[in-house]
């Protein structure tokens, strides 16, 4: 029996070489996922969450490149695979859905044909694949799937398109589905349907889910564990209840208090002073220290490593230990 974690990302580093300098998009991120687990990577724009997800698929677009680290799927390092083997991994073992399904779907092919195409990759005869495609569309709650399979993407609503995409992506029963802001373009009642569907597919197939989102509401709704990213670093991770109820990193704490949970007249929201640093010129030490209310002298000199307080939690902050990263 293979005891390796389903996905184990260690010290992942990604940078983009631009005319204005080197953008350190992901600076040493580490996390892991078990089978059937829902892990959410959350953070604000430019924190590196989407780049991390693309790196797992080895789809970081140029001028970006993966500088180092490892991405192990059941123990095998994806960063050492040749391109052909990686193509086998994509879709078959790891699949991905994006924010805007209109861009991901081919506008000139019928919805059913696009799902069928994915199934044919596994040497299934075409008519059998079509039958399975229709069946899958039904399972992602497309009403009247035999008829809808003949629709073009523009004839479907946004929620239906995302469900078609999801159907296509799970058609080959991947071990891991990466969903990058899967419901950001959708209305809240439709978002609820898509999130329900993702959880149901997880329950039925045992696949793991890596959700990339800026929306802490979605995190609260479906994640088992959460990783919080800031300026290219994973600053904290742990079980969802701990992250919401007892955030350890000052950034997570401030972020939670900036959420509008109040009604009018109950007081003003907490804000985070200052701005996210430029990823070209990151401050020395902890990237959050210029904005941190609890900063100490060491914070501006050395990047804190992840320390492990207890209970499956990790935090990169000197307030919680002296872990230090080289």
């Amino acid at each position: 029996m293979n005891m390796a974690k389903l996905l184990q990302v260690s010290d992942l580093r990604v940078e983009f070489l631009t005319g204005r300098g080197t953008v350190r998009a992901v600076g040493g991120v580490a996390f892991q996922l078990d089978r059937g687990e829902v892990f959410a990577l959350v953070g604000e724009s430019g924190c590196g969450k989407s780049t991390t997800a693309l790196a797992v698929m080895r789809l970081v677009p140029p001028p970006g490149r993966i500088l180092g680290g490892s991405i192990r799927l059941r123990g095998d390092d994806l960063l050492t695979l040749d391109e052909d083997s990686m193509t086998q991994v994509r879709g078959r073992h790891i699949a991905m859905i994006f924010q805007n399904p209109m861009v991901s779907l081919n506008p000139v092919y019928r919805a059913g044909a696009q799902v069928q195409e994915a199934i044919v990759l596994d040497q299934v005869p075409k008519n059998e694949a079509w039958r399975r495609a229709v069946d899958l569309l039904g399972r992602v709650y497309i009403a009247d799937p035999a008829h809808r399979a003949l629709s073009y993407p523009h004839e479907l609503s946004g929620g239906m398109r995302q469900r078609v995409m999801t159907g296509m992506m799970v058609s080959r029963q991947p071990d891991l589905l990466i969903a990058d802001e899967p419901t950001t373009a959708l209305d809240v009642t439709i978002q609820a349907q898509v999130l329900d569907l993702l959880l149901e597919l997880r329950d039925r197939t045992g696949m793991a889910l890596l959700i990339i989102t800026h929306d802490l509401g979605i995190v609260a709704e479906i994640a088992d564990r959460v990783g919080v990213m800031y300026a290219g670093s994973l600053v904290e991770q742990g079980p969802v209840f701990d992250i919401f109820e007892e955030p350890l990193h000052p950034y997570t704490r401030l972020l939670m208090r900036a959420l509008p949970r109040l009604t009018k007249g109950q007081g003003s929201l907490h804000t985070i002073p200052g701005q996210v640093p430029s990823l070209i010129q990151l401050p020395p030490g902890c990237p959050f220290h210029p904005r941190c209310p609890d900063r100490m002298e060491i914070c501006s000199t050395k990047m804190p490593g992840l320390t492990v307080p207890a209970g499956g939690r990790e935090v990169a902050c000197y307030l919680h230990g002296v872990g230090e990263r080289q």
């Binding site: 604000e44 946004g158 978002q191 800026h214 609260a220 919401f244 959420l259 509008p260 009018k264």
Partner: protein, 339 residues
């Protein structure tokens, strides 16, 4: 929570009476009109002075169209729109300019609502220019206004792309309030912003309202934001107002099944509430061009009965300052847990 008492003798700032906006739908080579999309379909509503009214609804519900009827950015198809007692629809060119001077609008995407080719000083001062205010007086007012929105004078000479999203939105707000309007129409003002920046803008909007006594018409799809910003909320579905109520009562005990579905689908920012009771809607929203007969929610509503399929429910008084458009509101006991 206390609700601002609205004196009945004072005229409301905005009154909509059966306001409708139908957009023609054209097909074919001759661009023949084949139907109408009923973006706003018979909305009656009053907004009191100093009130913050939030309008929520999903895409295509008509909330943005409704907001655009108030300054007559689009002409209504039917019904009346009154601003401070004056009919906006029939106002002459000059009167319309006077009416619009008393309103400001802030749009969702600040990077596209500021002129990219001029330093932000130009965008902020533009309303003054249109009113013939230039030179020293204009500079004085610009500086006074950017201070109100917590921007430093150094941003005035920068171009929009040199500002952060939050600074851009502050500049848009400065432009909207520079003529000291009575009303601010806010169309998804924080939807393009990150959580930490959103918090700054929401705080700013609240303190501005208190400082200069603004009335807010706040359009959003974000229920956490609308709860934080509003005294009352109007919920729209397929061009109609289905429920209007003060924030607290609406979120605890919605009267309309659509309100219940919307509030219970919205993630409550608390993982302990993930197994809360949810009111689910069946299927996808229908087309605006051929909305279902009767109550437009009936094909998706689990509470629908025969009457819902036949009769359009009117927005009726439900007591405690609440209104609802549902045949069955008295029989349903809906309750939603929010974070």
């Amino acid at each position: 929570m206390s609700i601002r008492p609205h004196s009945t003798t004072e005229t409301p700032l905005i009154v909509l009476e059966d306001a409708c906006k139908y957009f023609p739908v054209r097909r074919g080579l001759t661009r023949r009109v084949v139907g109408h999309a009923r973006a706003v379909d018979g909305v009656s509503l009053a907004v009191a002075r100093g009130e913050a009214l939030g309008v929520v609804g999903e895409s295509g519900s008509g909330k943005t169209t409704l907001a655009r009827l108030v300054p007559r950015l689009i002409q209504s198809t039917r019904g009346r729109v009154l601003y401070d007692g004056q009919d906006v629809e029939t106002a002459s060119g000059r009167d319309l300019i006077r009416i619009r001077r008393r309103m400001g609008i802030v749009f969702q995407d600040p990077s596209s609502s500021l002129n990219p080719r001029t330093p932000v000083r130009g965008s902020i001062a533009r309303p003054l220019e249109l009113q013939g205010i230039r030179g020293k007086e204009a500079t004085r007012r610009v500086l006074e206004t950017i201070e109100l929105v917590n921007l430093g004078a150094e941003v005035l000479d920068r171009y929009p792309h040199q500002l952060s999203g939050g600074q851009q939105q502050r500049a848009s707000i400065a432009r909207a309030i520079i003529l000291r309007p009575q009303l601010l129409i806010l169309d998804e003002p924080t939807s393009a912003l990150d959580v930490s920046v959103q918090a700054q803008i929401l705080n700013l909007l609240q303190s501005l309202q208190a400082q200069i006594g603004l009335t807010y018409l706040f359009i959003t799809h974000n229920l956490s934001v609308v709860r934080y910003m509003s005294d009352r909320i109007g919920v729209m579905y397929l061009g109609r107002l289905v429920e209007v109520a003060p924030v607290g009562p609406m979120q605890d005990r919605p009267l309309h099944p659509y309100t219940a579905a919307l509030f219970s689908a919205s993630p409550p920012l608390n993982p302990r509430l993930r197994n809360r009771q949810r009111y689910r809607l069946v299927g996808d929203p229908p087309s605006l061009i051929s909305p279902p007969p009767g109550c437009s929610l009936h094909p998706r509503c689990v509470f629908a009965v025969e009457q819902c399929r036949e009769e359009v429910p009117l927005l009726v008084d439900a007591g405690d300052g609440r209104q609802v458009a549902c045949h069955r509101w008295m029989q349903l006991a809906l309750a939603v847990q929010t974070g």
